[in-house]
């Protein structure tokens, strides 16, 4: 038995069908003449803030808690305010156009919904997953695998796109119980996967023009007050996309900071061994994202038996967004490097404990695996600096 009426469900889970219409009904349904967008939204948003005086504080809390990485203290409601809050968050994120802020906020909000999912009955979770196009099935007769009872299953083709968004290796298809096209799951697993779908819902569509949106929102008094507070938080915490992460760690990357995978390929290249396509790309992308010039990168390939300066230069420039798509390619992730067998974490000559075992991070028990060769550069830098602090006897 499901305990939701039509509105009850969408109030609780605003991304479901009908939620967007509550926040932003189609213009013609208002019955009035078509107004200019700014007037229309001014009226509508002002009305939200007047009807729900909590809205201002709730928005400020979501953004400030997200930036501070606090996970408790925000309570979601089960009424229209929850829908308005959800879509206001999306709107503000689209206006800020700041990838780091988006991730922080999406992480926080999706975690709040994760708690909601956990409190649902298995039947409701099944129904919700269907409405979210995840199509998870609940079986009263649970499947027992190794003394564990699995009450849910989802088809591989529905599971893979969601699992691929998760960094946690336990959700990788290979680490799941896969039988005849079905992936068997526990309730926690279903809640975690649905959380990732919610996360995706919150991240705005970057095709839309953020500058114009921001200009329009700033003209709406009630919204501009919120924007002002959030901007201050962003300023204080220096969350300026897209350079926040990069700081100056990657501006002086020398050989000692190179990850094992890069050292391994460089060794091959200097010995005149032809490199595989993926190895060439890995070098080009890594050099493009650290302090290396096009010349430095082309020089790596100069020792290869099939070196052709024109082709090498074109490809190196392409990887940096010079010509072609104009896109700077990012460094391969460790997961991808493992997949294409370029990870050398355990290599007897080049392996390194940072890659093999991970690193200790604040607030986390045990070591956390690194996710990218750029993480290695960061942590190797930390390790070297720590060692330098030890005074020689």
């Amino acid at each position: 038995m499901l305990n939701y009426n039509a509105f009850g469900l969408v109030y609780k889970y605003p991304w479901l069908e009908g939620g967007r219409e509550i926040f932003d009904p189609p213009l013609d349904s208002e019955g009035g003449e078509q107004e200019e967008a700014i007037h229309y939204y001014n009226k509508r948003f002002t009305n939200f803030f007047e009807t729900y005086p909590d809205l201002h504080q709730k928005l400020v809390d979501v953004f400030s808690f997200a930036i501070e990485k606090k996970e408790t203290g925000i309570h979601l409601t089960d009424n229209e305010l929850n829908v308005i809050l959800f879509y206001m968050i999306k709107t503000l994120l689209a206006a800020f156009d700041n990838r780091i802020l988006e991730n922080y906020v999406a992480n926080l909000v999706s975690k709040l919904y994760h708690q909601r999912f956990l409190s649902e009955s298995p039947q409701n979770l099944e129904m919700l997953s269907r409405k979210m196009d995840f199509n998870c099935h609940y079986e009263k007769k649970e499947l027992e695998i190794g003394n564990v009872l699995f009450p849910f299953w989802v088809e591989v083709h529905k599971y893979v796109p969601v699992a691929a968004m998760l960094m946690d290796s336990t959700y990788q298809l290979i680490n799941r119980n896969v039988i005849n096209g079905r992936v068997y799951l526990l309730k926690d697993n279903v809640a975690r996967l649905l959380q990732e779908i919610v996360r995706k819902h919150i991240i705005p569509d970057h095709q839309k023009a953020s500058v114009e949106l921001m200009e329009m929102l700033l003209k709406i008094k009630s919204v501009s007050a919120v924007l002002e507070v959030i901007s201050k938080f962003i300023e204080e915490k220096k969350i300026s996309s897209p350079h926040f992460e990069t700081s100056n760690v990657y501006e002086n990357v020398v050989y000692a900071l190179y990850p094992p995978c890069i050292k391994f390929i460089l060794n091959k290249a200097t010995n005149g061994v032809n490199l595989a396509h993926s190895e060439r790309l890995h070098i080009a992308f890594f050099y493009a994202n650290t302090n290396h010039t096009v010349e430095d990168t082309v020089d790596v390939f100069r020792t290869l038996p099939d070196f052709d300066e024109k082709i090498a230069r074109y490809n190196v420039e392409f990887s940096r967004g010079i010509g072609g798509k104009g896109k700077l390619y990012s460094v391969y992730s460790c997961a991808k490097l493992k997949s294409i067998q370029l990870c050398k974490a355990m290599d007897k000559d080049y392996g390194d404990v940072i890659c093999a075992e991970g690193v200790f991070r604040k607030g986390v028990v045990g070591k956390v695996p690194i996710k990218s060769p750029k993480d290695y550069v960061f942590w190797k830098n930390v390790e070297i600096k720590r060692n330098l602090k030890v005074k020689p006897i």
């Binding site: 695998i145 190794g146 088809e155 591989v156 083709h157 893979v160 796109p161 699992a163 691929a164 968004m165 290796s169 336990t170 990788q172 298809l173 290979i174 680490n175 799941r176 119980n177 896969v178 039988i179 005849n180 096209g181 079905r182 068997y184 010995n271 005149g272 061994v273 032809n274 396509h277 993926s278 038996p305 798509k325 997961a335 991808k336 493992k338 997949s339 294409i340 067998q341």
Partner: protein
């Protein structure tokens, strides 16, 4: 441009005549109008890409007119496949293709028939070299094919289809296999959901096939307190069961280090562990534990480190040996089924799974003549030309400058392999 020799002209002529015959019964290329085509011609070192054909007839005309050495189409589907700018092609899907090829597998026969040869002084090496140690000339790799490596590829396809694909709910009828015309097979899965997957999502499937990142948190761990290794049961689903079944299979088949080396020698395992597993009482104990579906694998001679090594060995022995980038790439070019492979003169033959099982890759894809009246005189141009079986006859080995007369199919094979010229 590559210099056009009499040999190249002769081979082109033979390919052209053969294509005139082949197009009469050319296998249908699914969604031909949405695929990019690419050609490698005999006289060019670069590929002609971004070609599109609205129908098969236009494509056939191209094949007959300038017979290419190799012809490929995209596994991807595009609204505008002939557009030269990749981002403007309008990608809307890509077949999931698995490439199983002896080139990427550890097969012992490679050591006997693959060589590195100096293009200048004919220096021959079995070891990988990139420059000639005698004259510093450039090196070419001469890859050969034999029953052993072709059988290894086929076995791997069978393992993929029978052991792995059922996990995803695929039956044998789902599978379309193309013999590549050389040393392997391309397995095409054209299900709509696979076609829509991006590279990241494809990697989940590829990792599943290759055992990459297999790291269950609840098993395959050593318990320091009691010396038990928490293993898996042969009845477990997915990789957990696969590893247990592989362990049981290996222990059951190998009752000595010698028998282990013969069957599983390509996978690394320390000598000390081989001795414990195959030549001590551990073998029978572990077989008993596995057959009784125990999740605890216990033998006190095996330490935590030993179990870690056994675990890694079992993962390596259980994985499917595929060419990873082919399956992850969503813009990959794949050899056109029904076309002639420019390195062998064999046809890239489309097969269903059952046909593949009985397929003879050194006989069934041979399209040039083996008749007596087709014999051609050729001159061996390379220092080493290993023996080759074509249909049911064995030819070679031959020495450099040996003048031989062989059936057309054999002559085409040796010329395509770059080891002979028309005499």
């Amino acid at each position: 441009m590559i210099a056009v020799t009499d040999t190249t002209l002769e081979i082109q002529k033979k390919f052209s005549l053969m294509y005139k015959e082949l197009v009469k019964t050319f296998p249908q290329i699914p969604d031909i109008q949405y695929r990019e085509f690419a050609f490698l011609f005999w006289d060019k070192i670069y590929m002609i890409r971004h070609r599109g054909f609205n129908n098969a007839q236009l494509f056939y005309s191209e094949l007959k007119a300038g017979p290419p050495q190799h012809v490929y189409h995209s596994a991807a589907l595009y609204y505008d496949p002939a557009n030269k700018i990749m981002t403007e092609k309008g990608w809307f899907g890509c077949d999931f293709v698995v490439d199983i090829d002896a080139d990427h597998m550890q097969v012992p026969c490679q050591e006997t028939h693959d060589y590195f040869i100096c293009s200048t002084c004919d220096y021959v090496s079995k070891e990988t070299i990139t420059k000639c140690p005698k004259c510093e000339g450039s090196i070419r790799k001469q890859q050969w094919l034999c029953d052993l490596c072709l059988e290894a590829s086929k076995k791997e396809v069978i393992r993929l289809v029978e052991d792995f694909l059922p996990d995803f709910g695929f039956t044998k009828d789902h599978v379309k296999v193309n013999f590549s015309g050389h040393r392997g097979y391309h397995i095409h899965l054209q299900d709509e959901f696979l076609r829509k997957m991006n590279s990241n999502e494809r990697r989940q499937i590829v990792d599943y096939l290759t055992g990459t990142n297999f790291d269950p948190k609840d098993c395959l761990i050593y318990n320091d307190s009691n010396g038990y290794f928490t293993g898996t049961s042969i009845d477990d689903p997915g990789w957990k069961g696969r590893v247990a079944r592989k362990f049981l299979e290996i222990l059951s088949k190998c009752d000595s280090i010698d028998s282990f080396e013969r069957t599983y020698g390509m996978y690394y395992l320390e000598n000390k562990l081989k001795h414990i597993l195959f030549e001590s009482d551990a073998r029978n104990k572990l077989i008993h534990q596995l057959t009784t579906k125990s999740r605890f694998w216990v033998h006190f001679d095996l330490t935590k480190t030993s179990w870690e090594k056994i675990k890694n060995f079992l993962i390596a022995a259980s994985k499917c040996d595929i060419d990873i980038p082919v399956s992850i790439d969503t813009h990959r070019l794949i050899r056109v089924q029904g076309s002639i492979h420019g390195k062998t003169g064999f046809v890239a033959k489309p097969l269903n799974y059952y046909e593949m099982v009985n397929f003879n890759p050194l006989a069934d894809p041979v399209i040039f003549s083996m008749d007596e009246e087709s014999y051609m005189g050729i001159n061996i141009s390379t220092p080493i030309c290993p023996e080759i079986r074509i249909k049911d006859q064995i030819f070679g080995p031959y020495k450099k400058n040996e003048k031989i007369s062989v059936p057309e199919a054999v002559a085409v094979f040796l010329i395509c392999k770059g080891v002979a010229e028309i005499s």
